[in-house]
């Protein structure tokens, strides 16, 4: 439980950092750190595969690309700018809280009968996941892979001047 507390505190701090840092690179780094701590929370819940997928996909792959884009677009030093107070800001906060309330009402309802802080053994293990993916969910799985393939082909089409 203490592990969870510490990790979630770090994750919340990192998430705040994403919003509050003025330099986009630092914000992106905070997001990376946030994803990374989330992965450790998953480890703590005994769902290692989920945690490692989080690291491989988000922390490792997507955020590197993200960082690339930011770095190539923003090569100057960190810069700050001040925003004028606007009515839209207040409205934005209001909508934000409303959205948070909607999500929370959906999520917290599921926590009502929640008493086990860890997944049962072999829940979400590579074996179990592989078996389910190749039996029950084989069609969605294959279709998703075809989608990815189309993405690869499309990016090659876009990037190559002549084929």
């Amino acid at each position: 439980m203490t592990v969870f507390m510490v990790l979630s505190a770090i994750a919340i701090l990192a998430a705040l950092g994403v919003v509050l840092f003025s330099s986009p690179v630092r914000s992106a780094l905070c997001l990376v750190f946030n994803f990374f701590t989330l992965a450790f929370i998953y480890f703590g819940l005994k769902t290692e595969l989920l945690g490692i997928t989080q690291i491989v996909v988000y922390t490792g792959a997507i955020m590197v690309l993200f960082l690339f884009v930011i770095m190539l677009l923003n090569l100057g030093g960190p810069q700050t700018w001040k925003e004028r107070f606007e009515f839209r800001t207040v409205l934005g906060f209001g909508f934000g809280f409303a959205l948070a309330a909607v999500i929370a009402s959906q999520v917290f309802a599921n926590f009502q009968y929640f008493d086990k802080p860890q997944a049962p053994d072999s829940f979400g293990s590579p074996q179990a996941l592989g078996r389910v993916l190749f039996t029950h969910y084989v069609w969605p799985f294959e279709i998703a892979s075809i989608l990815l393939l189309i993405g690869i082909v499309g990016s090659i089409m876009l990037a190559k001047r002549k084929l």
Partner: protein, 462 residues
């Protein structure tokens, strides 16, 4: 049998009996009971201390070994002044680096500039967490790996992919175009070679049927190629045809992942000074340096675990040898005991072998050009790894259908099919094939002319 040799025989048996016993009753001698009574967090901390600290301690030794071996290969003497054989040279270097002026350029992004070396060092030490340094059975089993999780090899791939961050951030934060170029190059390189690396490992995962590294070692202790007749020999993956290909691919990718020669483009001195760590001095530079060596060491360990039978000394099942050839039974039993009890030593030896290979490569091969690097990764290694992956699938299927020999039959059939395909498809579509079939004629200029060292237009004077 003479009495003297009989006595030696007896002593051999007694000795082997002492060493070989590894039933739980003997576990007190390695404090396993004490370890498993501790709380899980404390257990993990102890394991980390036992198996990560050596890596830290070994790093100076690696630097010494690299400098001495490299100078021997290049016909130089190398550092031989500080201590015996120059052994204390890395310590002197460390002191020098520590006392050097730590320069922070004015234009850097300060926070990221300071964080980057730490980020670079983190994966180097975190990768080793799932590597088994010793047996997964008997009294030694609870000591290592630090965490025997279901996702062993995935964890290694994931953490090693985080190595990009240190390099990219260092390059960006330095606010220097050479640093940035170095960082970008390096990240492109790491991302490209990661793919081939994971696909080559995926084949091995499929052959094992598990992502756990301990399961991989257990799989490699089975009879060679699944033949019971060859049960004396262990089925190290490097001895199987698909494993050998995967090992070659993994080895190349491993060198590229650690930014070592001939793939050390991020720090190509003649092009971009020192690459991403141009602006780093003193201890911050040393941290990058240390991270590189620790990663080399750990990747040597990964290679040993996945392809070279993990902590096993030699590819021999000594207990089977003792049962099958009674003449060498005492020797085999002693070797079995040595194989078991000194397992971390053999593992360390294999890691050292990996490091030596790295140094050998550095002394032998010139650095690749950037486009060569990319085309090697994407056009050669990745297709080869994917093809190998398919071969593993066919191998497993044929072994299940036709028994242990089925895999070999399938392999030869596949080779024959590839050869026929090559003859018919490749030669039908490639230009050289068209020449051979006479579908296109060589033009006048392209015809082969006899090469003569003496110009035929000039007269040869006697």
């Amino acid at each position: 049998m003479p009495a003297a040799s009989h006595g030696v025989w007896q002593i051999g048996w007694a000795l082997s009996d002492m060493i070989v016993r590894r039933d739980p009753r003997y576990s007190y001698c390695c404090m396993t009971d004490w370890l498993i009574q501790q709380s899980p967090a404390l257990q993990a901390t102890i394991r980390v201390l036992v198996f990560v600290l050596p890596v830290l301690i070994i790093v100076p030794g690696l630097i010494w070994w690299e400098r001495r071996l490299l100078s021997w290969m290049q016909d130089r003497i190398g550092p031989n002044r500080v201590g015996p054989f120059g052994l204390l040279q890395p310590i002197a270097d460390g002191v020098k680096l520590f006392l050097k002026e730590d320069i922070t350029p004015a234009a850097v992004d300060r926070l990221i500039y300071f964080v980057a070396p730490a980020v670079a060092l983190f994966p180097a030490f975190a990768i080793g967490a799932t590597l088994p340094w010793g047996p997964h059975y008997g009294p030694l089993m609870h000591w290592t790996p630090i965490a025997d999780v279901d996702i062993g090899i995935l964890y290694i791939l994931a953490i090693s992919s985080l190595g990009v961050y240190g390099v990219v951030l260092a390059g960006y934060a330095s606010n220097n175009k050479y640093s940035l170029l170095g960082g970008l190059r390096s990240s492109a390189q790491l991302i490209s070679y990661e793919l081939a690396m994971s696909v080559s490992l995926a084949g091995i995962v499929m052959a094992t049927g598990s992502l756990k590294l301990t399961d991989m070692v257990a799989e490699q202790m089975k009879p060679l190629w699944g033949w019971d007749a060859a049960a004396v020999f262990q089925n190290w993956f490097i001895f199987t045809p698909y494993g050998f290909i995967a090992a070659v691919i993994f080895l190349i990718c491993m060198v590229a992942e650690t930014n070592r020669a001939p793939f050390d483009l991020p720090e190509a001195e003649n092009e971009i000074i020192a690459g991403y760590h141009t602006e780093y001095s003193s201890m911050k530079f040393a941290v990058f340096f240390m991270g590189e060596y620790a990663t080399m060491f750990i990747f040597g360990g990964v290679f040993a675990t996945v392809f070279l039978g993990g902590w096993n000394m030699l590819p021999v099942n000594w207990d089977v040898l003792a049962a099958q050839v009674p003449a060498v039974a005492p020797f085999a039993r002693v070797m079995d005991g040595a194989n078991y009890w000194l397992a971390p030593l053999w593992f360390l030896g294999k890691c050292a072998g990996g490091i030596t290979f790295y140094i050998w490569l550095r002394a032998t091969l010139p650095r690749l050009r950037y486009d060569q690097l990319m085309s090697l990764g994407w056009k050669s290694l990745l297709p080869m790894a994917v093809a190998n992956f398919i071969v593993v699938a066919i191998w497993i299927m044929c072994t299940k259908l036709y028994g242990p020999a089925g895999g070999w039959i399938a392999l030869f059939v596949a080779l024959a099919i590839v050869y026929v395909l090559y003859l018919n498809v490749v030669s039908a579509t490639s230009k050289s094939g068209w020449y051979a079939q006479g579908r296109i004629r060589m033009t006048q200029g392209a015809e082969r002319r006899p090469i003569a060292l003496v110009d035929p237009t000039k007269e040869v004077r006697p």
